[in-house]
């Protein structure tokens, strides 16, 4: 492994200054400079040793990346350790052994779930990435109408956890959903079935479009328009420009969004649980879920094995991503020549087509699920032969206020997402800067650990964090506080937030930083005065995103929350078991409204910084 890393570094080195290659050595030998030939002999077969890079905040980088690695690898390591035991790691009866592996790897259901998961993950990516890229392009680079509104609407599918989302779909387009019934009245049958693998893929794909949109659009926003203008004057139409210039220029964010979505596809739980489970369509996460009760008492070692499998999936993904994005400078475009940022003109027909596409997508991925949730929140009964108007009630909301833990949950969630989200973005920024224009081993480490937490199902990572806070002595006092949830959330949100920032950081042209350095700013000052302000729109975006992620997160908190530290998402999970769907719908609707308000606020802040 060590060798392979070294080789990879060397391959990568060829594109980064200063780099030893055979050619350079030849020239070195040929040079006639007398001063060199003395040195030259010694160096005859060596490239001159690299100069130390000073003033590059090395210590800072190592410390920050080290701390992050600790925060990520502790729970991950615990899971890996657990997978090699025969019982819970804390149990005196647990012994080392591969029993868990042999159980999982001989289980037919595991392979079935793995296959289904793979198909659905890649299917989801195939839908989400092109659509997300297209949406970002339309919204950031063209003069499409209703931009401000669309910017928010596009993110709405992210507002809700996948469980609630899937549930929303059943209310609108399930077998007895209001839309399905209307359709059946018109054409006699319901032409779709959401309880199928295809249904799952389409719904997951459409609802993950925002995940792509966020990354790609923030990269596109900072793309100077002269690059696109150059293509247009060369004779490229808008679509050719987007295909040939805009999209390739934001390739880093597209690649990342794609790999992140593959992982999300592997990790998604709510959609398969609600849509696949009743018909026995099982994916890895529902398989893990099954393992918690299959043997009566939870079999952590089996869950851990499946989690390890998921972890292993990230490795080739990250590797591929690194290969694709080797020459980061190629994507740095925020140049020093203050290029004017202009939008592409769509024209009348273009507007119609573009708005049509967006409208259709919005209908399917916003109106349908949220409509479903909204309807459900205001009625007690629905479906076949029920007239919804007769059922209208506010009781579901009134009930919320009567239960203190629900009220507390809402407050906690808001604190955690708004304040915690902002702090988390701060942390991601510190980490992002530590990795900024850094090409050493620490950066490789960073690339790999960023995606790791996202590969693990929230339930598992939540459990791991629960153990960490329980068994690591100086952390135990923090366990019953929101802080433990916050740390877990920070790690879970890492792959979303950090990458969003890195994607923006990469686009700051090096000259802008170099000119600050030569003006007399230390690297820290440069970050503070130049880099951070330039990426500030990205920060606001990241905050919005993290806020959304924290607001709707559910699985992570299941084990970590306790009395006084309830969060909405996890409360919904426990409500699900008692069947309080009315309450869940009302809670979900409130959290959607909260998220929308928060997002509007964030965008407003971001927008003001941007103009």
């Amino acid at each position: 492994m060590g060798l392979r890393i070294a080789a990879r570094q060397r391959a990568r080195a060829a594109l980064l200054p200063p780099q030893p290659t055979a050619k350079a050595t030849d020239m070195n030998v040929q040079t006639q400079n007398p001063a060199l030939s003395a040195v030259g002999v010694a160096h005859a077969h060596h490239y001159p040793a690299k100069m130390p890079v000073v003033g590059n905040a090395r210590l800072y980088r190592i410390v920050v990346i080290g701390l992050l690695a600790l925060a990520v690898l502790t729970p991950v390591g615990l899971i890996i350790y657990q997978s090699f035991l025969t019982g819970p790691f804390f149990s005196p009866r647990a012994a080392f052994g591969l029993d868990a592996y042999s159980y999982v790897f001989t289980d037919r259901n595991f392979y079935k779930a793995l296959g289904t998961t793979t198909v659905s993950a890649f299917g989801m990516v195939a839908i989400a990435v092109p659509l997300g890229g297209l949406l970002s392009f339309l919204i950031t680079r063209t003069d499409i109408r209703f931009k401000r509104l669309l910017e928010i609407l596009v993110l709405v599918p992210m507002f809700i956890s996948s469980i609630v989302l899937a549930f929303g779909y059943t209310v609108s387009v399930g077998p007895t959903g209001f839309l399905s019934l209307a359709m059946r009245d018109i054409i006699g049958i319901v032409p779709w079935n959401i309880y199928s693998l295809t249904g799952m893929i389409v719904i997951a794909g459409l609802s993950h479009v925002p995940h792509v949109y966020l990354y790609v659009s923030s990269a596109m926003r900072s793309l100077p328009s002269d690059l696109e203008e150059a293509a247009r004057t060369s004779g490229a139409s808008i679509w050719q420009v987007s295909r040939d210039v805009t999209l390739p220029m934001v390739l880093p964010s597209i690649v990342f969004a794609a790999s992140l979505n593959v992982l999300l596809g592997f990790e998604t739980f709510g959609i398969p649980l609600v849509l696949g489970d009743p018909n026995g369509i099982m994916v890895l996460t529902t398989y893990i879920y099954k393992l918690t009760t299959l043997f009566g008492t939870p079999t952590y070692q089996l869950m851990a094995v499946v989690a390890v499998v998921l972890l292993l999936i990230t490795l080739p993904l990250v590797w591929m991503q690194r290969r694709l994005l080797r020459n980061a400078r190629r994507y740095a475009a925020l140049g020093g020549k203050g290029a004017r940022v202009a939008t592409l003109k769509l024209g009348r027909n273009g507007q119609l087509v573009a708005l049509g596409i967006i409208g259709l997508w919005l209908f399917v991925s916003v109106v349908l699920p949220i409509g479903g949730i909204t309807v459900r929140a205001f009625v007690d009964a629905w479906g076949e032969g029920v007239n919804l108007l007769d059922q209208l009630t506010l009781a579901n909301f009134v009930r919320l206020t009567e239960v203190p833990s629900l009220v507390r949950g809402m407050i906690n969630t808001v604190i955690l997402s708004v304040v915690g989200g902002a702090v988390a973005v701060g942390i991601y920024l510190l980490v992002g800067l530590a990795g900024h224009r850094n090409h050493g081993l620490s950066n490789t480490v960073l690339d790999y650990i960023v995606l790791l937490p996202r590969a693990l199902p929230g339930l598992v990572i939540g459990l791991a964090f629960f153990w960490v806070f329980l068994f690591v002595p100086f952390l135990t006092p923090l366990r019953p506080t929101l802080f433990s949830l916050f740390i877990a959330y920070v790690v879970v949100g890492l792959s979303y937030g950090l990458r969003l920032l890195q994607g923006t950081l990469i686009q700051v042209a090096p000259e802008l930083e170099e000119s600050a350095r030569t003006t007399g700013a230390t690297i820290g000052r440069t970050w503070r005065d130049i880099v951070i302000p330039i990426v500030r729109p990205g920060l606001a975006g990241a905050w919005a995103l993290i806020m959304i992620i924290f607001l709707r997160e559910y699985a992570t908190g299941v084990y970590l929350m306790g009395a006084g530290t309830e969060v909405i998402g996890s409360l919904m999970v426990s409500l699900l078991t008692t069947g309080a769907m009315n309450t869940i719908a009302a809670l979900a609707l409130i959290s959607i409204v909260l998220t929308g308000a928060g997002l509007a606020l964030a965008l407003r802040l971001g927008a003001r910084i941007h103009d």
Partner: protein
Amino acid sequence: QDAALIEAAKKEGTVSVYTSTDSAQSQKLQDAFTKRYGIAIAYNDLGTNGAYNQVISEAAAGQVTADVVWSSAMDLQMTLVKDGYAQEYASPEAANIPAWANYKNILFGTTVEPIGVIYNTKALTEDRLPKTYADMITFLKNNKTELQGKVATFDPEKSGSGFLHHSNDARQRKDFWDLAKALGEDGAKIYSSSGGMKETVVSGENVMAINIIGSYALDWVKESPNLGVHFASDYTPAFSRLALVVNNAPNPNAAKLFVDFLLSQEGQSALAEGGLPAVRKDATGGLNIDTLNERVGGGLKPITVDEGLLDYMEPTKRVQFLNDWKAALGR
């Protein structure tokens, strides 16, 4: 009531409860307890697995924070007792609950919650529903076309409650496997939570759901006009939420006082009021064991709190059961 215990409990000032009962259902109980003793409840709704997991993890870490575990997973509760996580407590109220609900003064049944059937009233009418367990099997067999893909039940693989319900039936009734086969023939759909099942029946996506938690269902029908609940008159099993005091509980006195209160007439009435039928006959405000028995048609068969609960905790037996279940269902 032991005044010394109350005094000591008040000094502790708080009791930490790990439970699977969502706080909406137990709010009345909590309020009553706190009002009466001025002791705060740290109410941790963790789900059945969560509660179990936290208790054993905390014990291993030497960081016990749970005082009382109050969970509907009867088998997991019994496992905790067997593995020594609970302490014996001879509650003065224990005498007032049925004998089947008291396991060696360690584990106490606090509710009696019937297992039954819910159905969509637009699709089925009360009078068409089978009266007995045996009738149900026939009913499922005779209405295959109408019921195809529209019957729901718990997935014992993913739901602890589901496993408890099904395996208890299997222990109690020889014709359980006939029922399972009939379900299989109807293409029954399996769910991991009550919520999922309820919602599909409310919407008419499923016509009925079998082996559902009846106490919840009795509440649901109050809200949802198109939902009906039904119990077999000859055989209505019922499970119970079990409470235990944790070994090395940080607030042992408050814990004991809380268990006392759970079993007291006041506590039981508060539970009944919240929709969880009381195990005591003298509880008011909602269903108690007697009124419930009437409501379900007299066939109430509470699951006894004893080592029998552990039968299926043995892996081979459990796997055997699940395999049989899947075979019967044709999966």
